[in-house]
């Protein structure tokens, strides 16, 4: 899955997701990516979030919606992602990550399970080139 959040020069925000889904899935299976609030969610005057990982598990918790709701309460993007991930209950080891961006350009991420999770950011105030950011899960 790719999940993207953008804040444009006019102050508008959008999220986009695209995926080919889990390999060897049962035909007809759909994961979290195309579900609003699960794979991605955004509110212009607050911020946006996107998810990646085990869609079958993550989509049950509407994690992107949760993150934006935490942002609405004034919680920072990294902490918002961490709190949303904590809501997932799983008896088995699972893999998931959330990335968030506020309408002021603050960004953050949190993850579970991955040994090496990295996301990318590009903004004029961070070198005007794509930056790869590693996150410890």
């Amino acid at each position: 899955t790719i999940g993207v959040i953008a804040l444009d020069a006019y102050g508008s925000m959008a999220v986009g997701t695209s995926t080919s889904g889990s390999t060897y899935k049962i035909p007809g299976r759909v994961g979290d990516s195309p579900i609003p609030g699960a794979g991605g969610y955004v509110v212009d005057n607050i911020g946006g979030a996107v998810a990646t990982g085990d869609g079958d598990l993550m989509m049950r918790y509407l994690l992107s919606f949760q993150v934006v709701d935490y942002l609405r309460q004034g919680i920072g993007p990294t902490e918002a992602c961490k709190r949303a991930l904590r809501s997932v209950r799983s008896k088995e080891e699972w893999y998931g990550a959330l990335v968030a961006l506020t309408n002021r350009g603050e960004y953050g991420s949190a993850c579970v399970g991955f040994t090496d999770f990295k996301y990318s950011v590009r903004a004029s105030w961070i070198g005007n080139q794509t930056n790869i950011i590693a996150v410890s899960c």
Binding site: A6, A9, M13, V15, Y24, P34, V99, R122, S124
Partner: protein, 191 residues
């Protein structure tokens, strides 16, 4: 002017750059929209054969076919366009944007999502490639492992064997299956 920024869940630099080039084009003073930026980033990833979780030619299902899911959400209008389990159309995120911009719906699924795409001018092309076919062959040779079916509910056992699978009749009177049948009988139990 608002701060311009784009964030992507993975270190796909080319995709992030593609979105950035829409938000802040180097050869124009006109800034692009956030919707077009996220679609450009996703489209770049969909076209990149090296990205194995996005776009055509990867993630074959049990039948060996690739199907695509995509979603675009506008934070200003709260409108959403999405497609799911869509065959034959490579530009999944662009079709999702078309659902958002040209319809009052949110999510189109399956072959009919592809029909919608064709009606919007997208050219149908198989999403399967020799790479995805080889992945599927390899899976079959490995007794169809890993497998998303729960062992006790199917014959043959999906933990050890490939399909075609059918319901495990010896398990049909289990409480779980009884509950499922009761739920199915509820005429009001639908979307």
């Amino acid at each position: 002017q608002s701060p311009i920024i784009i964030v992507n869940t993975w270190p796909f630099s080319n995709a992030t750059d593609a979105g950035w080039n829409v938000l802040s084009p180097s050869n124009s003073t006109l800034f692009g929209s956030s919707i077009d930026a996220v679609v450009a980033a996703c489209t770049n990833a969909e076209d990149d054969p090296n990205i194995e979780s996005v776009g055509y030619g990867c993630s074959p299902d049990e039948n060996g076919h690739t199907l695509l899911d995509a979603m675009v959400m506008d934070g200003k209008t709260m409108e959403v366009g999405a497609v799911a389990s869509m065959p034959d159309i490579r530009q999944a995120s662009q079709v999702a944007r078309d659902v958002l911009l040209s319809t009052k719906h949110t999510l189109l699924v399956g072959p009919l999502a592809a029909e919608f795409a064709k009606s919007r001018g997208y050219k149908p092309t198989s999403l399967d490639t020799s790479k995805s076919h080889n992945l599927w062959i390899k899976w079959q040779k490995n007794n169809c492992q890993p497998n998303f079916r729960k062992s006790a509910d199917w014959v043959p056992d999906p933990v050890t064997s490939c399909g075609p699978y059918r319901t495990n009749v010896s398990d049909i009177n289990s409480p779980k299956l009884k509950d499922q049948r009761i739920k199915k009988l509820d005429i009001n139990n639908h979307d």
